[in-house]
Subunit: 351 residues, 2 copies
């Protein structure tokens, strides 16, 4: 090892779900939306004036922030936007988890949390889910330097009732509490209104799932003005211009088309509820998902075997080779047609 | 101050040049390109399939990386891309400047460097430029934890000869040396080929200036495979998907249109050389710019007065209220028409 290599930061990167470059039949492994974004997004992209690309984008993303603020019914000063919710969450870790005490997170949760903690050398402690794979609110009330959890949790797909979310916040008013609501639009109850009551609560959202815009990288956070200005200060200490002109235009169009958004959500929820039944009939135990994916374990067949046999048929789902969940598959809700292909394949594999 | 506020990271953000929301006559304050990007970019945006926005973008930005690798004649494994060169540089600071010894930077240089150092708690030391506002290579040879400088330097616009750049690298083979070539395309000599000789050298470039794409946020770095894989590991520990689909498509189109690129550069250089003469005739001392901006001080009139009087006329240039350079203006090279408006205004202000 050369001398300069000794000063390189050591990290263990997050591994995203595979983006297959080969032709695939059905891709149900990264929780993307099976439907395209609002047609208003198409128009917004067509209306882009490429000649303006020569200019820096608005560093405050004012119009996108305004569109989100209007939609969420909060003042603009309480909205922060970033390059996907990963950028927003990563920046929130860097900004708010700057103490000596451990940040609390579940043992089974979004697997980027401990990656950010390691990257920024933030001490953390993992709290086991209970046997039903639920977050136990009481366990999040010990002394800590911050709290972060998704609601619904990923990859379990299980929602915690708002009363329990509030219990965690109420018991943790000396630290920042981050509620990651990437999947809240699929039937969950948001903690967003609690940001009016608790100025240490940050709620994080994404355009990647319910708004079908994973490819454009837009996420946002809602919190008190104090939280949001602290986040902005760190953002402006890293990169003044994160949101490019195309992302802003697409984001504004997407959030304004509420009707299309609601239709998309309804279709996904309806497919999901049917999928729960079908998979149960196939001998799976399926958690009560409030997300756009299922978390399922088969009563007799190994998860890894099912995963591999689906993969052989060019059907991609997600398998986590991790303690406690290595008998589970995470299956994104696709279109009804895609789900039929999955069901047919499962019928063959399981028979 | 509430308890949770004590754990917020304290930062002093970078302040970007103003993006005026009012109508302006001429905007020469953020070193944007006065000409639009290649018409191939327009086509690439038109060809975007908005329906694919529902999918995550390629986390490796493979095609954009390939287009850059082809253009720069390096293997793909030696290319890293990010959301503007600020993202690339910020990530490089986080990745490579992880030791105890101070990182060396000039006292007058890109003002984001010390912001990143403060954000990531990196010790640093500033080395004064000489009286001619030049970097003194010998001064960058003391013991350190890394070296970073732009070439040409900003905001001085002065290029360091490649032999001197190499001298700094040769004397600093135990640390990572970052050469920030944001402005190299405007007549400078790149250190890029030296990355074949020195595996601790990282050369950083941007699409924001010479490629007229500030609004789309694309930057890149070229270095040894060791440097690039370390950068990638940190990137994948922060945000898997940084480059959105539109940015990648636009970037690929821009870098492939070499003819248009060369024409743009030629026009800007020709306008710049004339601007040097005109401003000298007006009583300015102008550094020998190898960039798309001038750095100029007037022999009798206060820089701040000129700045404000130009601003009153809705002509924006950049004034830095900082020691040693508060008698200078940084003036971006605009179109010939824009420069004529500037000259006319200066004639009135200086008479």
């Amino acid at each position: 090892m050369k001398e300069w290599e000794k000063n390189i930061r050591k990290v263990t990167p997050y591994i995203p779900g595979e983006q297959p470059k080969m032709d695939y039949v059905v891709k149900l492994n990264t929780n993307e939306c099976p439907y395209p974004p609002s047609p208003m997004v198409e128009q917004a992209i067509k209306d882009l004036d490429y000649k303006r690309f020569r200019l820096y984008p608005d560093p405050d993303a004012t119009e996108l922030v305004r569109a989100i603020a209007d939609y969420e019914k909060v003042p603009e000063e309480r909205v922060f936007v970033g390059v996907g919710s990963d950028d927003v969450l990563g920046m929130a870790f860097l900004t708010f988890f700057h103490g000596e005490k451990p940040v609390l997170m579940a043992d089974i949760t979004y697997s980027f949390y401990d990656v950010w903690a390691n990257l920024f050398q933030i001490p953390f402690e993992t709290i086991p889910l209970n046997a039903q794979l639920e977050i136990v609110p009481e366990e999040f009330c010990r002394e800590n330097g911050g709290v972060v959890f998704p609601n619904p949790n990923a990859p379990t797909a299980i929602e915690m009732p708002l009363s329990q979310v509030e219990k965690i916040i109420r018991k943790n008013q000396d630290v920042v509490v981050i509620v990651d609501e990437a999947y809240i639009d699929f039937g969950g109850t948001s903690a967003l209104r609690l940001t009016e009551k608790y100025d240490n609560l940050l709620v994080v959202r994404t355009f990647s799932k319910s708004r079908a815009m994973a490819g454009m990288r837009i996420g946002y956070a809602i919190g008190s003005e104090t939280l949001i200005s602290a986040l902005k200060a760190v953002k402006f200490s890293y990169n003044s211009y994160t949101m490019n002109q195309a992302a802003m235009a697409a984001g504004i169009a997407a959030i304004r088309d509420e009707k299309y958004f609601n239709q998309t959500i309804e279709k996904i929820i309806s497919t999901r509820e049917r999928a729960k039944k079908v998979l149960s009939d196939f001998g799976f135990f399926v958690t009560d998902s409030k997300t756009n994916f299922l978390f399922a374990t088969h009563k007799t067949m190994e998860a890894k075997d099912i995963f591999e046999q689906l993969r052989d048929r060019h059907i991609f789902v997600r398998f986590f080779d991790k303690p406690r969940i290595n008998q589970y598959l995470r299956i994104t809700i696709g279109t009804d047609e895609e789900m039929e292909i999955l069901y047919q394949a499962l019928r063959e594999i399981l028979k």
